[in-house]
Symmetry: C3
């Protein structure tokens, strides 16, 4: 296992081993130490959970940490397009930045949100792709335009922790939010649950679907795992019998980069908030959200503070899941033979074909 | 001892033990190590001394450090009000942020200045209160709206280092500054000196008093210690016989959040600068300030660079005092029985009643 | 060796020892460990390579790291002028900031770019001078207005790695850039190559010379080493027979702080880009640049991605060179006798006389 870009690139047996290890770490197991090894943390965007859990996870393994922030006072602005005349705002090209950082550390972990201007550019995931292509080292995706695999791994861990059946029903519900948010979390939640073999229902207003290629990929994963994936706009029917209600807001691909049109598209759906009225339809369901979450917009206080909310355990599992992941990545550096059941990023992952999709 | 919010919450015997230990560390004692334990440093506001000394102090103890910055590129904006519909600028509520960070580290240290808009909100100290209430771990106050207890502990250490008598006279003098500064330092200096048993004189222009509840609390502390507290606007008389002149600027509560009115209130007092002319009234006094200090505004070069200024030792003692504090906090995690003479944050601290005061 | 301000302050035998050690570290040698020792990293300006390599280098030595950033959310703005009434934007004076940080760590490493307003102020290097004067500890220059000695040390390491002859020819060529950049890198490259004994040719448009005092200093270094230094505006002739083409852009001293005039001065030289056409004049030359570099502005993709570009190794050598430097600085703290061949910053360095130059 060299990097960790998308959970669906990892064989299910590998995911299961990581999740089992995460739960051991949660129960107090000691992490393996890798003295003299190093991890680079590169954040181009805000973070609370991811930063804190990666810093602590790295410390548990005794890693030497290199930390860089994008933006004013941090790194230079990075250009990702090839062949461009760099006389604009960006002072450095991803080719050099990635190659240099790859000389300084053993593994790089990178967060880079979409810019929210061009759907095509965002879904090509240029910064993560650049680091993977040019750094020469394994790259951990700490949330890119397309995927948030560490969240997905923590979520799977949380589902196992709460003994949610492998064939249980997970409802991923779109929620209202004042801003159009990226697709990384819904993409990863959908594919994680499909890979785990769950009955996945994604419920969203008509203009707020997920990308066709992601849907297709999720269907493939469900087919392989014995699960199922369904998309609907019927909120009334969707929640019945759910084991998990997973709330998340995301922007419309129909109005990517068009703030006013986006706002108009979402305006009618202010009532897409998870309240007790909705949770009442599914008495055994747990409530999950990746956080940060806007109270009384995405979810009502009554749900988030109620006994069915497991969001704090879910967040805590970020630490344990990532510690397990780092153990596996650094162990494979010591012994380069890839462990059975794990593989590098697969050529079958959807954005490997993103150029075809959008051209 | 679980957290450290306000020095006056700690029994005097406990403070004395911390100060004695700080002076041992200053003389080169080795700090106790706590392998596998972790400290979170959360800064919502600028810092030089506090950041640097906490980083070094944590390293001396072998702690695993998690570091987060508020503002652009750092953490999400945090909401502190309950029941609010979060459709504004803040993306996360303190309830989740604190609870999650409390899962990642053993102790949290937080700096959060007042917003300077509402006196009532600022004096309720919402961010620190939120971290204390929701994190589930001990919280160290690295300067909140109300208190700067690490500064107070370092100041007591400095007074002992320079053998200033326990019954000595400390003059806390307001000074001119182009901006209205928070009350945390004057509040903490006043209460520290009162708790130490000193004769405390606070001298300030009429509109620049400290909060009535803080004054009352300081009187209580002085009564218990055998010290005294007095407030005056008579600069001419105040300095005579002082052992310490402690300069600090702060804003007027009469014009909180009203920049123009505040500027008008302070305009007549540009000459409230500590110069040799003022220091001459008290030949044996040392000069103290928490830093950063504006030269030739708050204090003249001649005083700051003169032989009576002990501000650099005072700043160095931040490191030793905080190292002693961290030792005590982490030791009590190893052995949860609270050491004799120390207690958790007391219900009697003034802001415990802040809601009553302002409602 | 107490600090590291300018490579030319270090005796050539000392530089040779550092370079040899850097190459050993590059080949996998273990760095010496200094448990309990600490390094402060202070960045007032953006950084990728320098931050990452210093963090990793410090970790290799087991140093306790203190890290501070200037700008919003970081440190206070620092005043560097003496005697000033500090009622402006800067909240702290360098005298206190440096003295306090010097109490918290054993060695300080500082990056502070020129402000770009006053040539005289910038060339007096006020922030670095302040840290050196007031901190009481050794200071490593991580790029100041005048010098980038860590880059120069890494560059010398790279020249040795590629077995470029000590008497080889190095062409330092000015290149077009949309902004006027500081002189630290060209100053340091020029002096490094002169000290190494190379035939140095600096080629630049007429208005883009380097400072007379720097030129003079480079001549002195060349005289001592048996090298030579020449300045020309004749691009056609300059490249012939070069072993190294070192590209770099920098601003004109004739229009310091005058953006429009500067832009007009550089406008005619948009074709000062290193392309294959230019590299063709010198078939054996390697291409070097300190990075970040603007592709197809300063250098064409064809050169940067071609076989003669050694910029990534050059950047990697920042880590090894600085690790060697830190070893030497911390070793001399353990054993305060300065090692043979090394000395502290020399009074002969050009900016020691900067006040004379500009007054």
């Amino acid at each position: 296992m060299k990097g960790f870009y998308h959970l669906g690139d990892v064989a299910t047996s590998g995911v299961e081993r990581l999740v089992a290890r995460a739960l051991e770490l949660r129960r107090g197991a000691q992490a393996r130490r890798f003295p003299g090894r190093s991890l680079g943390l590169v954040f181009f965007d805000p973070s609370l959970r991811t930063q804190a859990s990666m810093q602590r996870g790295a410390a548990r393994l005794g890693l030497e940490l290199v930390q860089l922030q994008g933006g004013a006072g941090g790194m230079w602005g990075l250009e990702t397009q090839d062949g461009v005349v760099m006389d604009g705002a960006n002072a450095e090209h991803i080719r050099e930045a990635a190659a240099v950082l790859g000389r300084f550390v053993d593994v790089l972990a990178v967060r880079a949100f979409p810019k929210g201007k061009s759907l095509e550019q965002d879904f090509a995931d240029p910064l993560l792709e650049g680091f993977r292509r040019y750094s020469g080292v394994g790259v951990i995706n700490l949330e890119s335009s397309l995927w948030h695999p560490c969240q997905a791994l923590a979520d799977w861990t949380t589902l196992d922790q709460y003994q949610v059946p492998r064939r249980g029903k997970l409802v991923l519900t779109w929620a209202y939010h004042p801003k159009p948010l990226p697709h990384a979390v819904p993409n990863s939640t959908l594919c994680m649950a499909a890979q785990r073999g769950m009955e996945v229902v994604v419920v969203h207003p008509p203009a707020f679907g997920l990308h066709a290629r992601i849907q297709e990929h999720a269907q493939d994963l469900a087919r392989a795992s014995g699960g199922s994936v369904r998309f609907t706009s019927d909120r009334e029917a969707a929640f019945a019998g759910a084991d998990v209600v997973y709330a998340k807001s995301w922007g419309s691909m129909d109005a990517w980069g068009q703030a006013e049109r986006e706002a108009a598209l979402r305006a009618p759906y202010r009532d897409w908030q998870v309240t007790e009225r909705w949770m009442a339809r599914t008495p055994r369901a747990k409530f999950m959200h990746c956080l940060p979450v806007r109270r009384n917009v995405v979810v009502a206080d009554e749900v988030l503070d109620g006994p069915r909310s497991i969001v704090i355990d879910e967040a805590e599992n970020r630490l344990h899941a990532q510690t397990a992941l780092l153990e596996e990545l650094f162990a494979s550096l010591e012994n380069p033979t890839t462990p059975a059941g794990l593989s590098g990023p697969s050529a079958a992952s959807p954005n490997a074909k993103s150029k075809e999709i959008y051209s």
